[in-house]
Structure formats: C-alpha cells, structure tokens
C-alpha cells in the first residue's frame, strides 16, 4: 500500500491517505493521487471562499474499515458531491479518500468519465462497491440518484426515491453508514428545465440550470453518528424486509439531520 498525494503539490492534510497502487501510480479503478491532489488544489478556493463550506460531526467518521457516507442530492451538476468529497478529504482525520459512486452513464462521458475515474469516482455497480468495501474504503453514495438532482426547487430537502442498495452493501460487508446532510446545495444551483428528449451520452436528461453559475450559497455539511448493522448477520442482506428497514432507518436519520441543519442555518449566504 502506498500513500496518496505524496508527490503532488499542496497535500491537503498532514497525513496522506492510504492508496492501493496497482503498480503504475493508479489503482485498479483508475484513481491517480497526483490528479486528485491537483483537483483538490483547484477546488479548494471554491470550497473555502465561494461556498465557504462548514462541516460538523466529521470527528465521528470511522478512521478505518468500510464506510458508506449517504447524502442528499441536488443541483444541475454534482457540485454537492464535489464539496462533500473535498470536505472528507480536507477534514477527515486520518485522511480518507472518498470514492463517490456515480450513475452508470458516467463512463460514457468523454473526458469527464476519465477525469472522474482519476479522482476516485466509480460507476455504480454492485461489483465495484463490493470490491471497494472489501478493501475497507469509504464510499459516498446518493440513494436518491437521478431523481434527487431532477427534483423541482419546491421539493428541496425532501428526499426523493430512496434506493436500498447502500443498506444491502452495509449489511453484507459490515460497513458503517454515515448519513451526511448537505445544506445549501439545494438552493445553490436549481434546475429550471430538464430536457428529457436530449439523452446525451446516456444521461437521463439534459439539465438547464436557473443561473449560469451556482450561487454562492454557504454549504453546511452535517455528519451523523455512524450507523452500524453489525449485530445482523451478512445473510440479512438477502432479506428484502431487513434491507428495507435498514434503508428506512438511514433515511430517517438523514431527514433528521437535514431538519436540524436547516433549523440551525441563519440564512442562505451565512
């Protein structure tokens, strides 16, 4: 095992996160620490000065072992995912590399698909998630999926269709689930129009944002306590009722975090 970001400019934290080099400076999924480090250096001004991200509760993030961070999702482009991953990279201690799970159409996108792979993003297949969790990595998933980013502005902070794959994975691999409420993203870049006929590169629709750039709404990220299903056997992952129950528990915890986060917020830009 190697350490990430060792040879790249401006490591984001004193401790470099562990990185499984497949022999040529990349991991099996295409993550390249040098590219990730450059992306962190580029994204940091947005994180610190534009969105002025504040986060709470990251101290309870497990330092090692398989973790699934489950968050709400919104926006024309996944800026919320980028800020959440930056926050995990910059503030988790010891630093853990987040492996965001993207929709399956992402590998079809020229340039973007390759770039995202270099940054640690993986396509949302069960086998990919299994492999990463078995290696004790930290996944970032958005169970709302496309319905989350497609929700109208009036439905902001209301969780949409809630897939249960994260609960099944957590049960099967004894992974801790950490709910993360991202407050601010849902007002930052609302979608005005979804062109559903324009299925470019397999994307379900083409988003037309209400503003040319995301608004500088302050992001507040609230991490919940890790939820553990270790008292249940791995075979429980095959029981649809148990999986649904676990997924509902994660959803309830996330909704509570969102409520608390919205209540604590003093204003959109503060």
């Amino acid at each position: 095992m190697n350490t990430a970001m060792a040879d790249a400019p401006g490591p984001p934290s004193a401790a470099s996160p562990p990185f499984r080099d497949a022999g040529h400076g990349y991991d099996l999924f295409g993550l390249r620490p040098a590219t990730l480090s450059r992306a962190v250096a580029l994204g940091r001004p947005l994180y610190e000065h534009y969105f002025r991200v504040e986060s709470r509760g990251i101290e309870t993030m497990p330092a090692s072992g398989p973790v699934i961070v489950v968050a709400n999702h919104s926006g024309a482009l996944p800026v919320d995912g980028a800020m959440l991953c930056l926050d995990l990279l910059l503030r988790s201690s010891p630093t853990r590399i987040p492996r965001a799970v993207a929709d399956r159409f992402v590998p079809l996108l020229p340039f973007a698909g390759t770039l995202l792979a270099r940054l640690g993003v993986v396509a949302g297949t069960r086998a990919n998630a299994r492999c990463l969790l078995e290696r004790g990595e930290l996944l970032v998933v958005f169970p709302e999926g496309v319905s989350g980013v497609a929700k109208p502005f009036r439905d902001r902070y209301r969780l949409q269709d809630w897939t249960v794959g994260h609960a099944e994975l957590a049960l099967r691999h004894h992974a801790a689930v950490v709910p993360a409420a991202v407050i601010g993203a849902e007002e930052s870049w609302p979608v005005a129009l979804r062109l559903r006929g324009a299925r470019l590169f397999g994307a379900p629709y083409l988003p037309v944002p209400a503003s040319p750039l995301p608004l500088p709404v302050r992001y507040h990220i609230h991490y919940g306590e890790p939820i553990r299903f270790e008292h249940l056997p791995a075979e429980a992952a095959d029981d649809p009722a148990i999986v649904a129950e676990c997924a509902a528990r994660v959803r309830d915890e996330l909704e509570e975090l969102i409520e608390r986060g919205l209540g604590a917020r003093r204003g959109l830009f503060r």
Partner: protein
C-alpha cells in the same frame, strides 16, 4: 503426470512445456503444434518430450493423436492452448477454435486415463459495456451479441462448450480466462496495437487495462494442474494501467483521435500496412476497459500475479528522477560523462 499440450509452439505453449519438464513428477510430455518441426528456441530438448505435428482442425488427426500416441503413453492431463492466432474470423479459425475444442473435449471423455483438461480461454469472452463493473468476475455476462466479430463469437462458443461439459463426466475441466498475454505470436491484440509507432485511441477515453506476463500465465496453468478440481477462473496480470500509459511504456506515441474516425483509420492502416490489429474487436475495451477480477483464482488456486511485464521504457519514480538529476549535475560539474 503425463500431460498433452496442444498449441505448444506458441510462446505460452513453450513456456508451459518448459515448466512441466522442470517438474520431476512429469514422466513424459506430448507437445503438439501445427508446424512440422517446432520453431527454433520454442521447445527445449528433452528425452521426456515428444513433439507431434497435428492439424487439430481435422477430426481424424485429433482422434489419432489421442487414441494413438496419447493412449500409448498413458496421458492423464490435457492442456488445450491451440487457438487461431489471426483476429479475422475465418472458416479455418472456427474449425480450430470451436470444432477442434469440442472434439477434444469429447475424445478426452472417452480416453480412460485422462482425468483433467485445462482449457485456455481469454478476457475477450466477456461483454464489455459502460454499465459493466470495472472488474469482471466469472459470473459476468459473456459477449453473446450476434453483431460481435466472428473471432470473438468463436472464442465465446468454445468457452461455453467447455463450461457446458463441466461436471457431466469424469474429466475435471478447468477453464482459465487469461488477461491479455503481451507477447508476439500469441494472438494478442494489444501486442498488434503496439506494433504501430503511433497508437490511436478514442479521444476523451483512457481506460484501465490489465496485462498478463508469460510467467504469470504459466504459473496459473501450473496451479490449475495442481488443483485438479475444475472450474472457471479469471487470470489477471500484475500490470494495471491506462491505455495511454501502455503506449508510453512501450515507447509508442499515444494519439487520441475522435472515436468515429478510429475504425476507418485502422481499416485503412490494415489495408496499407497489413497489421493484425482490428479496432472493431477492441472498440468497447478502448472505451470502458473491462479488467478481470482474479478473486476466485486467488482463493481456490492460490494464484496471485507477481511477475510484471518487462516494459521497454522504464519510468523512474520522482525520487529516482531527483537522484538522476543530482548524478547528472555532479557529472557535469566534474566534467565526466557517460560513454
């Protein structure tokens, strides 16, 4: 053990024959190839080695081999490596890749001494799609698209033929789906791709590719022979890197080109230069990768890739680059230089 190795005149066949001859448990070994005499340097000289030229596309020849020399010698293990090296699916390649494999599987069952058959398959049998996982395990869908190139369909049919016979008779069948073995004359499309000075790839895509060394492929066969209980196993290699890095490490110029232009450009190049590389065979892999997950082979055979490819272009680590820079400065300051 008394093995019969088909396709022994390929680099992989030669390497496996050498490995078997180094094993004191191997009494005698029959190696077959289509050549009248084995190419120089491929097979070692040994009193325990019997080379027999056989055209396996002729059912009678295959029958006579098994019920002649093989039966007389008490062959108990068959390692079937013979596949057509050309990527252009032809009637002859179908006869070798599919018909000969089927015939061999049937004949092996009728030969009382044979207990184990190792069948060499490859990563090309898997359907590579954008929606597939990055790592393909043995349960992933195979390439059954009727529009797939004929040579791929032949390999899938042969693989499925071997799999379909598993557990139906007394012969244990092991199917090894090897990652691309990066050597010449082995039917490696990646090798053919790297034969060009300029390697074109789809603009905007740089998939991760896994390659297998001859030593690791040989080790996998050795472990499969030892396990003897059959099954399907992916055999990945020790090198996983982006396609662009493969070209660079091979000393080639990596040139991204808009995807739709690649097929006609490579067709034109094949017509003009006569390369064996076919873009249509590799189009999906050049977009989405599709590497083999070797977990089952690791758990059941104890296989772990350990021998990386001997890349022609070495890439020094940053620390080593710094050392080299210091060395150069020192040499320049003392006025010495490398001859």
């Amino acid at each position: 053990m008394r093995p019969l190795v088909t396709g022994a005149t390929t680099p992989l066949g030669g390497s496996i024959v050498r490995m078997l001859l180094a094993d004191p448990d191997v009494d005698h070994l029959i190696a077959t190839g289509v050549e009248r005499e084995p190419p120089a340097g491929i097979l070692p000289a040994s009193s325990r080695l019997i080379y027999q030229p056989v055209d396996l596309t002729r059912a009678r020849a295959a029958h006579d081999l098994l019920f002649g020399t093989a039966q007389d010698l008490g062959v108990d293990t068959i390692i079937h490596l013979a596949t057509h090296r050309s990527p252009h699916g032809t009637r002859m390649s179908h006869r070798l890749d599919v018909d000969a494999a089927r015939e061999l599987l049937l004949l092996a069952e009728r030969l009382p001494a044979v207990r184990h058959l190792v069948f060499r398959s490859g990563a090309e049998v898997y359907a590579v799609r954008h929606s597939a996982p990055d790592l393909l395990d043995e349960d992933q869908p195979l390439e059954l698209d009727p529009r797939a190139p004929a040579s791929v369909r032949d390999h899938v049919e042969a693989d499925l033929t071997a799999c379909a016979r598993m557990g139906t008779g007394r012969v244990a069948i092991t199917v090894l789906r090897l990652a691309e073995v990066l050597v010449p004359s082995q039917g490696s499309q990646l090798w053919d791709y790297l034969e060009s000075r300029v390697c074109l790839r789809p603009l905007g895509f740089d998939p991760m590719v896994n390659v297998l060394s001859l030593d690791d492929a040989t080790a996998a066969v050795r472990l499969a022979l030892r396990a003897r209980d059959g099954g399907v196993f992916n055999i990945p290699g020790a090198d996983t890197l982006p396609l662009s890095r493969i070209a660079a490490r091979w000393g080639r110029i990596d040139l991204p080109v808009p995807g739709p232009l690649l097929a006609p450009l490579y067709r034109l190049r094949t017509r003009v230069v006569g390369l064996d590389f076919r873009y249509d065979l590799n189009a999906r892999r050049f977009h989405f990768g599709g590497m083999l997950d070797g977990r089952r082979a690791r758990e059941r055979l104890g296989y772990r890739p350990s021998q990386p490819i001997d890349w022609p272009v070495a890439v020094a680590s940053p620390a080593r680059r710094s050392e080299l820079r210091v060395d150069r400065l020192e040499r320049e300051s003392t006025g010495s230089h490398k001859e």
